[in-house]
């Protein structure tokens, strides 16, 4: 079997992100130190999540326009992988924050629980829970057409809710999380040019990996549907 070009690109970029992300020079900042390299992994999870959710909502809209069942399968798979990457981003962020934000001299940030009380983190949690409800909604409807239609509409709502929860509200409130004034990691003033050399390829690599996993899920689901249809005949 020959791998298609974008799968090979994903493999190459991910290996580059691991090796380059560990070896290439990074700016030396107080507090962060070597953990700044997490940018290549933790932030990429959120970027990949956002791109995968965008693909998902495009498929939902396509489903509503032409009623093609495969679009529903695609929307569900991309949303699934996107949510998974969001959970990974949340988990890696919790690890990172507990080593860089914790401050024994400041009682407000002494414990893990007080660190996690951040507008950005709460917003991200709400966004992930809204997507969690998407899957619960799907599994609660037995009729296939109805499930596809209702969940496509809900998916558009969930995507729209991403903007207030992870883009707007965190920007309005003070937070320890970087990216208060502008777009974190995209702003040309706050990301070092040396880091951009690894960061952008890493974003593409992780996103393609997510898309790869999603296509495998899509193909599996379609195969399963075919099998059931054959059994019924």
């Amino acid at each position: 079997m020959r791998l298609s070009w974008w799968k090979l690109t994903s493999i190459f970029l991910l290996l580059y992100a691991v090796v380059g992300g560990m070896f290439l020079p990074v700016p030396e900042l107080p507090q962060l130190g070597e953990t700044i390299r997490n940018l290549y992994y933790h932030v990429c999870m959120w970027f990949a999540m956002m791109i995968l959710f965008t693909i998902s909502v495009i498929h939902s809209i396509k489903y509503l326009r032409n009623g093609d069942y495969t679009h529903d399968v695609k929307a569900r798979s991309y949303a699934g992988v996107g949510t998974y990457m969001g959970i990974l981003g949340y988990a890696t962020g919790a690890i990172w924050a507990s080593y860089t934000w914790a401050d024994p001299n400041n009682p407000a940030y002494a414990s893990f629980g007080s660190i996690m009380r951040e507008p950005k983190l709460i917003g991200a949690a709400i966004a992930l829970l809204i997507y969690g409800a998407y899957f619960i909604l799907r599994s609660s409807i037995n009729d296939m057409d109805q499930r596809a239609r209702v969940s496509a509409v809900y998916n558009i709502f969930a995507y729209a809710m991403l903007f207030p929860t992870i883009w707007i509200i965190p920007r309005l409130l003070p937070s320890l999380h970087p990216g208060q004034e502008g777009n974190p990691a995209l702003n040309f003033n706050d990301i070092d040019s040396r880091m951009r050399m690894v960061f952008y390829p890493a974003v593409i690599g992780w996103t393609l990996l997510g898309a790869w996993i999603a296509t495998i899920k899509i193909r599996y689901t379609i195969l399963l549907e075919k099998k059931w249809n054959n059994n019924e005949k």
């Binding site: 991910l14 290996l15 691991v18 560990m22 030396e28 107080p30 507090q31 130190g33 790869w212 495998i216």
Partner: protein, 69 residues
């Protein structure tokens, strides 16, 4: 005379270098890099990444096989 001036300049330079070293407070992983142990970490990461990639390739292959049937 010349020698003493040179030596004073040299001492000034040396103290400057020292001051710079103490000014660098951000603790980067100098030890890991200097004794080469960072390579161990990268090797572990690469093993995991390659392992996961091989796994996803094998799943991809299995699906392709099923699709052909």
């Amino acid at each position: 005379m010349k020698n003493s001036i040179l030596s004073i300049i040299f001492i000034l330079f040396a103290s400057l270098v020292n001051a710079q070293q103490s000014a660098e407070t951000s603790p980067m992983a100098f030890d890991m890099r200097s004794n080469g142990k960072i390579y161990v970490v990268v090797a572990v990461l690469l093993t995991i990444m390659i392992g996961l990639i091989l796994y996803i390739i094998s799943v991809d292959k299995k699906i392709s096989k099923l699709e052909k049937e």
